[in-house]
Structures are given as structure tokens and as C-alpha cells.
Amino acid sequence: MGKQNAGIWAGLILLAFSVFVFWQSFSLKYRTAFGPGPGMFPRWLSGILIVLSAIYIWQSARKEIYRVSDVLPKGKNLWDVASVVVAVILFMLLVNRTGFMVAGTAMLLIVLIRHFKWYAALAVAFVTSLILFLIFRQLLGIPLPVNAFGW
């Protein structure tokens, strides 16, 4: 898996995306009675992107080769990178149920826990969330989601 060509994979995803947009653009009018319609720009842009994707795949296979192992993080770095995604998704799942303070602390804890002792991570996560909660909700008036206790 690690030796596979990441450029080709990226090019194929891009190609699939541009073909999809190209196909979808046919549901929009290319011309109207007044001139170019809403479908003209999408059709040309996606058409050109199809050509660019094909050239990119060709270049990725022949010129600059990026292996999957160069693109994906390895070992402990993998968790560091993945923790950002996991933390934000967890925040999105929690925040409307538990309020900002709990969701924010949980999000930070996930990213911090590998780099600090658990109690230090918890303290940093809680204090940071509290400061930002006060700034955004109280000072800037942004209606952050809160629980039954008001935090």
C-alpha cells in the first residue's frame, strides 16, 4: 500500500470529481435567450479540469512520483494528525447535547493527551475552553451552544 503512487490516486479522484461536475453541468442551460446560461462556465471549467487531471495522472506516473507512504503520516504521527479530525468530529457530535464547555474540553483533551500527563492535559483543555467561552459568549455575544446549566 505504502509503495503505491499517491499522485495517481489523487489524479483519479480529481478526474472522477471533474467528470461528475461535467455530467452535472448538462442539467443546467448552456445558453439562454440573452446570452450564455448558468451551465456554460461549469461545463468549460470541468472539461478543462478533466484534461488537467489526465495530464497530472500522466505526470505522476512518469515524472515526479509521490508514494502513499510519503503522503500519509506514519506511526505516532498518524495519531497526531488523525486526532485533529477525530477531535473536531467529536466536538460536532457533542456540542449541541453537552454545551460548549464539555465539548470544547473533550476536543482539546483528545489532541493534548498524548503530549501531556492526563491531569495537565485536562487542566489546559478546561482552562482554555473556559477562557474562550467567556470571550466568545460573554464578550463577543456569539450564541455558543450551552447545556441546561448554562455552559
Binding site: V21, S83, V84, V88, L132
Partner: protein, 500 residues
């Protein structure tokens, strides 16, 4: 004379204590992001935009512009003291700034950089005040074909000059153009690619996308390759030796001219004048071997150039509505969000706004000089904040910033998705600047193109019947050809290393 009177009026607005406070906040945040590796002015400007929703447009843009030019000052400090550029344009400063610090002359490097930055920044703002109104008046004659050709030229410059490969630059540009198709068609109002999802009707928000592409991806990369902060050298003695005064002054003069001219060209970045200035100083030096070992001109020239660039790069934005870098593209987004349309009519319809911003930049540059010279050591300490603490804090601020845009988790999700996209784009060396610029410009470009084609009754050759649009399209073709040749000869590597 008229401009001078309006500038005085601008100072009256900018000097109100409220606007002074916002200017100070802006330049301080700018310094902070300049100092902190991994957090650039583009991300910081995007992060601050949601906080300006309730603000008066003048105060909001004064603060956001402060982040933009303040970032250039901050980046120097870490380049000199710990050999870690805080932002892209300061990469060059490491070459001679860090050796100077190792010789115990960190204070001199920082002092010269701050003074050069102040001179370059101030002169370029004078240029903005003088050239801006004239250029805007001239640009009022532009019709849709000229604007389309101008945006095309700006885009080709970004794609052609930056990034390691033309194809990857073009892919990023077209990806940005396609992503901004989502939502309402700017001409007919038809919904496109919304798939029945109400959140997509207004399209993707530029601020959310930028926070994802620049901020979240940078957090992911930063956590993956955490930098180490070394011990800080002492900062003492801010002025160069007597024998260094003349070459330093000359380097500052040349840096100002180079930086100012580079800013006028749409699509350049602050790295380009810094690079040009460094190579010019090296060429002109009697003893070239000093460069890389602590030549003071190697710090003075590039630092002046990147700050002079900052002021003049606002000229295309203020007069033509064309952003020349991702940070300026985000500023353009902020203009629109606050109900202002950058372009030739801005000087005519909102003179108070424009002149207050210009005046605030004079004040901001002075504040930055004061913040820099005596406090350089303190700023450098900020850079020693461990990244394992810094990145999580930036993450939660980004999440809150994205949430504040529409008080919805949709924007947080979009930001995360673009963050992951940005992470892989960076890993695959696909440049980020074209995608942000095209997202901002796409709707304007489409409108100008559709209007032009309606005017020309579908005959695209009519673009060549108008001298300005013909010249700009031909120039774009020349840049594309030049870029292909440069790529074939592998001449793009230097500029390709840095793109913000």
C-alpha cells in the same frame, strides 16, 4: 492636493481612540502570527473576520489590514533569533539574520529590519495614497472585457509564478473556480450544485475555506512535524556600525523600490521582492562571500522589500478589486462582508473609508516600529511556546471562528473537510494560493465573462479588438509560455518553496 485633504480627513477617523485600539489589536495579532511558526497572516485574518461582524466597517478593515502588514514585521524576529521563519517572506532573512545573531549582533539585525520595514512600509503607503486615486479613476473606464482580462492575468501570474509545477497550479486554480460554482449563479440566480442542501445555497464561505486550507492543514502538519525551539540569543545594540550605515541605507532604498514595484503586479507574493532584493544586494556587494555569513544588507534589503510590497499590493485591491495574495483575497472577502465593493468606485463612493484605512496604515507602521525595537526579545519568547500547546489552542480558536460565521456546525464541518484537503494538497505539492484566489474571483470572473460574451454576441475574438483586454490576454499567454519554459529548465524551485 485633493488627496492630501482627504488623507488628513482619514487621519481624523483613524486617530479616534476606538480605531487606534483596533489598529493596535490588528498589528499586535499580526506580530503574534508573524512570530509564531505555523500560523500565517492568511489564517489569522480569516480567524479574525467572524469577530468583526458587529463592528463598523472602517474599524474592522483597519484591524484586519493591521494583521496583514503586522505579520511581515513579526516573521523577522524568529528568523533572526531562532532561524525559524514565522511567515514565508522571512525565509530569506534567516540566511544572514541568524548568522548575525550567532555573532552576538541579533539586536543590529532586528533594528535594521525594523527600521527598513518602517521606511519601506511608509513609502509604499505614500505611493498607495498617490497612485491609488489616479489608477482608480483610470480603471473606471474598464468594461467587463477589461476586468475579465485583468482577473485572468492576475490568476495566470499566481499560477505561473508560484508553485513547483504549472499543471498543479492550474489544477488548484480550476478546483477553486469549480468549488465556487456551488450556490446561486451570479448572473441568472439559478441554483447550481446545491443538491437540495439549504446550506449550499449561498455557496462555500471564503473564510471557512481559508481557515480549513491554511489553518487546519497547518495544525495537522505542525503536529506531525513539531519544530523544536532553541535557546534565545541576547538582543542588544539596535543600530549598525558606522561603516555599515551607507550600505544599509542603500539596501533599504533599493528594497523599497523593488518591493513597491512587485506589489503593483497582480499575482506576486511578498516572497518575490524579498528574494529579488537579496539577490540584487548580493550581486552589488563588493565582497559576495559575506552573504550567508551575516551581511547586514542581506537583512535590510529583503525586509524592506517585503514591507514595501505590503502597501503597494493593496493598490490592485483598492483600485481594481483584484487580490494579489491569499491574505489580500481574504481582505477582499471582508470588504464584501461589510458591504463594500473594492474596485475603481471605492475611492469615489467610500472616500472616508479608503483614506481612513490608508491613514491607519501609517499609524500601524509607527506602532509596529515601537512594538519591535524595544520589545523584540519579548516577542521572541512567544515563539518558544511549545507547539504541542500552541496547535491545539489554534484548533479550538479555528473551530470557534468557523462556528461564529453562521452560528452553525455546518461551517465547522466544511472547515474540517477543507483542512483535510489542504493537508493532502500540501503533501502533494499542490499550491494553495490559486485555490483561494479563484474562490474569491470566480463569481466576478464569470459575471465579467458572461457580460462580455453578451456584449460580443458570443464572438470571443472581440476581446482582441479592445486594446487593454487584448494586451492583458496576450501578457497572460506570455506568462504561461514563460512559466512552461522555466519549468522545463527547472528554474522555479526557489519561488516554489514558499507561496503565502
Amino acid at each position: 492636493m485633493d488627496s492630501f485633504a482627504q488623507l488628513i480627513g482619514g487621519f481624523e477617523t483613524a486617530l479616534s481612540w476606538w480605531n487606534l485600539l483596533y489598529c493596535l489589536i490588528g498589528v499586535t495579532v499580526g506580530m503574534l502570527v508573524g512570530v509564531l511558526p505555523g500560523l500565517g497572516p492568511a489564517t489569522a485574518t480569516a480567524l479574525l473576520i467572524p469577530l468583526t461582524f458587529g463592528m463598523d466597517p472602517v474599524s474592522a478593515i483597519i484591524m484586519l489590514a493591521g494583521v496583514y502588514y503586522g505579520g511581515m514585521y513579526g516573521g523577522t524576529i524568529t528568523s533572526v533569533l531562532i532561524n525559524t521563519p514565522g511567515e514565508a517572506a522571512s525565509v530569506i532573512t534567516c540566511l544572514d539574520g541568524y548568522p548575525l545573531a550567532k555573532q552576538g549582533r541579533a539586536g543590529v539585525a532586528l533594528g535594521v529590519a525594523a527600521i527598513g520595514s518602517f521606511i519601506g512600509g511608509t513609502i509604499s503607503i505614500i505611493g498607495l495614497a498617490m497612485i491609488g486615486p489616479v489608477l482608480a479613476e483610470w480603471a473606471l473606464r474598464f468594461g467587463p472585457p477589461e476586468f475579465f482580462a485583468l482577473m485572468l492575468f492576475g490568476l495566470v501570474m499566481v499560477v505561473g509564478l508560484l508553485g513547483k509545477s504549472l499543471i498543479r497550479g492550474l489544477i488548484a486554480a480550476f478546483l477553486g473556480l469549480i468549488l465556487s460554482l456551488v450556490g446561486r449563479d451570479p448572473v441568472s440566480g439559478t441554483l447550481r450544485f446545491t443538491f437540495g442542501q439549504p446550506n449550499l445555497i449561498e455557496g462555500f464561505d471564503i473564510v471557512t475555506i481559508t481557515m480549513g486550507l491554511f489553518g487546519i492543514s497547518e495544525i495537522m502538519l505542525g503536529l506531525e512535524n513539531m519544530y523544536k525551539t532553541g535557546k534565545l540569543p541576547k538582543v542588544k545594540g539596535l543600530l549598525p556600525r558606522r561603516d555599515e550605515l551607507k550600505p544599509t541605507a542603500k539596501a533599504i532604498g533599493r528594497g523599497t523600490v523593488l518591493g513597491f514595484l512587485s506589489g503593483l503586479v497582480p499575482g506576486t507574493s511578498s516572497t518575490i521582492p524579498a528574494l529579488l532584493s537579496y539577490s540584487l544586494e548580493r550581486q552589488l556587494a563588493k565582497d559576495k562571500s559575506r552573504f550567508g555569513k551575516g551581511a547586514i544588507e542581506g537583512v535590510a534589503g529583503p525586509e524592506t522589500a517585503n514591507n514595501a510590497y505590503c502597501g503597494s499590493a493593496l493598490i490592485p485591491l483598492f483600485t481594481l478589486g483584484i487580490p494579489s495574495s491569499p491574505t489580500i483575497a481574504i481582505l477582499l472577502g471582508a470588504f464584501i462582508m461589510h458591504g463594500l465593493t473594492p474596485g475603481p468606485v471605492l475611492f469615489r463612493e467610500n472616500p472616508n473609508f479608503v483614506w481612513a484605512i490608508i491613514a491607519s496604515m501609517f499609524i500601524g507602521n509607527l506602532l509596529l516600529l515601537i512594538l519591535n525595537l524595544p520589545l523584540a526579545g519579548m516577542w521572541a519568547k512567544v515563539a518558544t511556546v511549545p507547539p504541542r500547546l500552541l496547535y491545539p489552542v489554534i484548533l479550538i480558536i479555528s473551530v470557534l471562528g468557523a462556528y461564529s460565521i453562521g452560528n452553525s456546525l455546518w461551517d465547522v464541518g466544511v472547515m474540517l473537510a477543507f483542512g483535510v484537503l489542504g493537508y493532502f494538497m500540501k503533501k502533494l505539492d499542490i499550491p494553495m494560493a490559486p485555490i483561494v484566489l479563484t474562490i474569491v474571483l470566480s463569481k466576478l470572473m464569470e459575471t465579467a465573462l458572461v457580460q462580455s460574451m453578451t456584449m460580443f454576441e458570443g464572438d470571443l475574438l472581440q476581446f482582441f479588438h479592445r486594446p487593454i483586454s487584448a494586451a492583458l490576454i496576450l501578457l497572460s499567454l506570455v506568462v504561461l509560455v514563460f512559466s512552461i519554459i522555466a519549468e522545463k529548465k527547472n528554474k522555479k524551485s526557489l519561488l516554489a518553496e514558499v507561496e503565502m
